[in-house]
Amino acid sequence: MSETCNIQVELPDDLEASADNLEVLRTVFQTIITLSRECGSKSNPELKAMLSDDWQVHCGLTWSASAERGKEFETATGKTKEEALAHLRQMTCLHEMDGCP
């Protein structure tokens, strides 16, 4: 992303400007921009390469979640925030397991 454009919107009185709500707004704007540029496009070279290898490719917008602790890092995606966090939890739980020789 080369540039960030600041957009000001008026929030309803009863909507809290919480981190979660702001993330939803940010994601919605990002989705609009992404869709306006990429929807229906088959010109992506990676996509073309996969299609030529007979892959049926579905590419959609998802939630992404990541967790970091020291040098440990995990990331996961999901169609919903809950799904992304559930997948992420599955990955982080492996770090809670012992590493006995």
């Binding site: 599955q90 492996l94 397991m97 012992d98 590493g99 006995c100 020789p101």
Partner: protein, 415 residues
Amino acid sequence: MAYSNELRDSFSRELDGIREAGLFKEERWIKSPQAADIEVEFPAGAEGKKVINFCANNYLGLSSHPDVVEAARIGLGTRGYGLSSVRFICGTQDIHGHLEHRLTEFLGTEDTLLFPSCMDANAGVFEALLGDQDIMIADRLVHASIVDGMRLCKAMRDTYKHSNMEHLEEKLRDHQDKRIRLIITDGVFSMDGDLAKLDEIVALAEKYDAMVFVDDSHASGFIGKTGRGTHEHCGVLGQIDIITTTLGKALGGASGGCVSGRRELVELCRQRARPYLFSNTVAPVIVSGAIKVLDLVSATTERRDKLEWNTKFWRDGLREIGLDLKAGDSPIVPVMLYNAKLAQDMARDLYAEGIYVVGFFFPVVAKGQARIRTQLSAGHERHHLEKGLEAFAKVGDKYGILGKSKKEIKEMYGL
């Protein structure tokens, strides 16, 4: 990218970080066969020192048994050194089939497939059997190779608190919507030496329609009345769906492992498990030695009985000295010290007394759970054990921890 000076410095800094964290692993060169009495060169270049080994997985003392060595020698002469092939191209000899058959009989399962190691068996088995509609539910203290195998599998993952059956039941209830539920556990847990409650796990598996996987690497050959493993000890022979185990511990100690269990599951591993498909066959010399090991452990329980006696003598002796032990019946006997530096210092002093043990601390075990893990062998004679106990008494006294509780040790040394 060229291996530039910057890149070299970057990797060196990583190594420095490992050293600074006290986690740098150094190899000690042993100049004798594996046994109760060994000669060790440490540090490198130092004169060899004769010590009693209390840290090998040589539970039955078969690593250098003359009959096993002779069988390996015959295998070398009659089947050659290597096969230069994976199993399914031209790497399967008659003896591979014989060993798989013998392991199936010994473990009380339906079929067995050899792998280059149990690490490989664990890395390949889950991916071969499970898909994204399935769930793996693992005990939180399973071996690192199981964690890696779970990472390589597309099935969903969950864990339950160590040996906590209520928590496991809760998880099984939560995951009733999945196609396959697989409960994953070690038979004997390598750091604490405790046994999985396989009878309760099997009962829960039946209640909640789940399969059971057990890594019995620290059990095969000596746990249970005839040494079949944890499933024999817990009275659930024939009821474990998948067992993985190693030939690298009690069963000769060389290398190699296997997946053993339900016929169709083993066959699927033969078709799909990548460490089996893409690594070389187990060498004939090891296969021949392992068949002899199974002859020995099937003929008599003398060695596992001696190991059981040694373990009791050792546990009782350490307790009488006043050391704090993890409870359990297996030949893995952890002496709890809680403080990482204390564990390292005591292991060093014990080595000076001729006793070879290793201190374990975070991240290998949980923070504040540092310990010296001692491991018994049927190869230990009474005089080995007595000398070991004398040394522990002397070194324990030096550090003032004899007769002290966990709380008192923590007050003296911190965590």
